[in-house]
């Protein structure tokens, strides 16, 4: 994995932007964004944006968080304004689903302040409030993480799958056979994936790929063999592949052991966000960050404790993205 210089970043970003704009102007589906990046530039970009001063007096500073989000998106798309970045992800008139991760309650879930910042930027990009849906597996998960359930059609909606429902027909790919959440299939035109950077006691880590377990009715069936190939196979279900356009990983507080539940004793303030279109590249990068922290704390690598996330390599073989460090352009801003 390499760190690109500012010059290369701007050059690659400009090429990417021009090509992506050309593709969009020809009416092509933006859901192909990740694979276009791989094809056209030969690399998958992962931005790691950090702000050591993100916490003021123990709580997250909302203004600094918005600035951090802007910095991350602008670096990812190599543009000068946040609105330019968001217009490359969504179009006015689309319904945008924000798939958060709230299983662990307040400690290790997607921060509501981050989601609020995303909603603000989406609206500035022309998305109406009523066309934004914040969703997760269960409404009580959302509430535990600090969200307030909202079902009115005239505002930003916040709902769990149990309120919206699942499809009646089974969707299947490889080892995966599930009923998909209607939040994904019926309501959202585009999905922004908002996972959390954390350890998982069975499948090793849970980041962008595994966060879509929240879009199926039976995630508990997919944990054998440390999640391989299930995590990759679930992500292959067509509506997931077609609709997820970007991952913004909440790494404000990260966890290197004891997940997915919140364990403050095994968490650390990373004070950052990871942004990528390629979920495999993002998960590979996040995995390395967690391994580095485990090593720093004297813990064994995940492989040595039987939790190596082999499903990342499986996802790469499926063509979802790349786990080859030589093809991951890691930008730290």
């Amino acid at each position: 994995m390499h760190k690109a210089t500012l010059t290369r970043r701007h050059w690659a970003g400009s090429c990417l932007a021009a090509l992506a704009d050309a593709a969009c102007s020809q009416g092509r589906d933006r859901s192909a964004g990740a694979s276009q990046e791989l094809t056209l530039t030969g690399t998958a970009r992962v931005v790691i944006a950090r702000d050591p001063g993100l916490r003021a007096g123990g709580s997250v500073d909302g203004t600094r968080l918005v600035n951090l989000l802007d910095r991350a998106l602008q670096a990812f798309f190599a543009v000068d304004k946040p609105s330019e970045a968001w217009r490359r992800i969504v179009r006015p008139g689309e319904v945008v689903g924000l798939k958060v991760n709230c299983l662990a309650g307040k400690g290790a879930s997607t921060h509501p302040a981050l989601v609020e910042a995303v909603c603000e930027r989406l609206q500035q990009a022309g998305i109406r409030a009523r066309d934004i849906l914040i969703w997760d597996r269960l409404s009580e998960d959302l509430e535990s993480a600090g969200f307030r359930i909202a079902t009115g059609r005239d505002r930003i909606r916040v709902m769990g799958n149990e309120l919206i429902g699942y499809e009646d027909e089974l969707s299947s790919w490889g080892s995966a056979g599930s009923l998909l959440a209607k939040a994904l299939t019926r309501i959202s035109d585009a999905v922004i994936n908002l996972p959390v950077l954390k350890d998982h006691g069975i499948v090793g880590i849970t980041l962008a790929l595994k966060n879509l377990f929240g879009a199926v009715h039976n995630p508990n069936k997919y944990h054998p063999n440390a999640g391989d190939p299930y995590v990759a196979d679930v992500y292959m279900l067509p509506p997931i592949r077609q609709k997820v356009r970007l991952a913004i990983c909440d790494a404000i507080t990260a966890q290197y052991e004891g997940g997915p539940s919140y364990m403050p004793q095994w968490s650390w303030p990373f004070n950052g966000l990871l942004v990528a279109r390629d979920p495999v590249a993002l998960d590979y990068t996040g995995w390395q960050i967690i391994e580095q922290e485990r090593a720093r704390r004297g813990l064994k690598p995940l492989k040595d404790v039987g939790r190596e996330p082999k499903w990342i390599a499986t996802a790469a073989r499926h063509g979802i993205g790349t786990n080859d460090p030589r093809r991951i352009e890691r930008l730290e801003v």
Binding site: G58, G105, G107, I202, E257, S261, Q265, G298
Partner: protein
């Protein structure tokens, strides 16, 4: 025959422990140094994944009956969650307790064995494994969690075995 059935039913009904739905392990503010109890939930073993996802597997493997969970607030400054995992045996509770790394912890005076990690605390008593987690990195979290733990422990001691 009917009398035997009735007697057997009565014996089952009188069996102590967490199989009885009326077990309430969560203390009031008076019993816990001022912690105010909020939402309380119960998860049967088969539904535990809805609460802690993949983390449920190791509890299932160790042998769990159900989990009680309560949210607490302390003087409008601290929020915490208390999980009481009711295992089938004391050995199962010990196994879960020992499974967790003790690095960074110190013993705490509650239950039959306890570890304080500052903003979290775990202890076991009989077949109960208890975890308390505070959602603020504050110096008062440790002492306050210990008071809550003692309140829960007192209730569990009365509910044993």
């Amino acid at each position: 025959m009917r009398l035997r059935l009735r007697l057997a039913w009565l014996l089952v009904a009188l069996l102590p422990g967490c199989s009885r739905p009326r077990l309430d392990p969560f203390p009031s503010a008076q019993e816990s140094g001022g912690w105010i109890k909020g939402r309380v939930r119960t998860f049967e073993a088969a539904e535990l994944w809805r609460y802690i996802d993949g983390d449920a597997e190791r509890y299932l493997q160790a042998g769990i009956e159900r989990t009680f969970s309560a949210e607490y607030r302390y003087q409008e400054r601290l929020e915490a969650v208390a999980d009481v995992h009711c295992m089938r045996t004391a050995a199962a509770a010990r196994r879960i307790f020992e499974w967790e790394p003790s690095t960074g912890s110190r013993p705490a005076p509650v239950g039959e064995a306890a570890r304080s990690y500052g903003t979290s605390l775990t202890f076991r008593r009989g077949r109960y494994f208890v975890r308390l987690v505070a959602y603020a990195d504050s110096p008062e979290a440790g002492p306050a969690l210990l008071e809550l733990a003692k309140g829960i422990d007192a209730r569990l001691a009365r509910a044993r075995p």
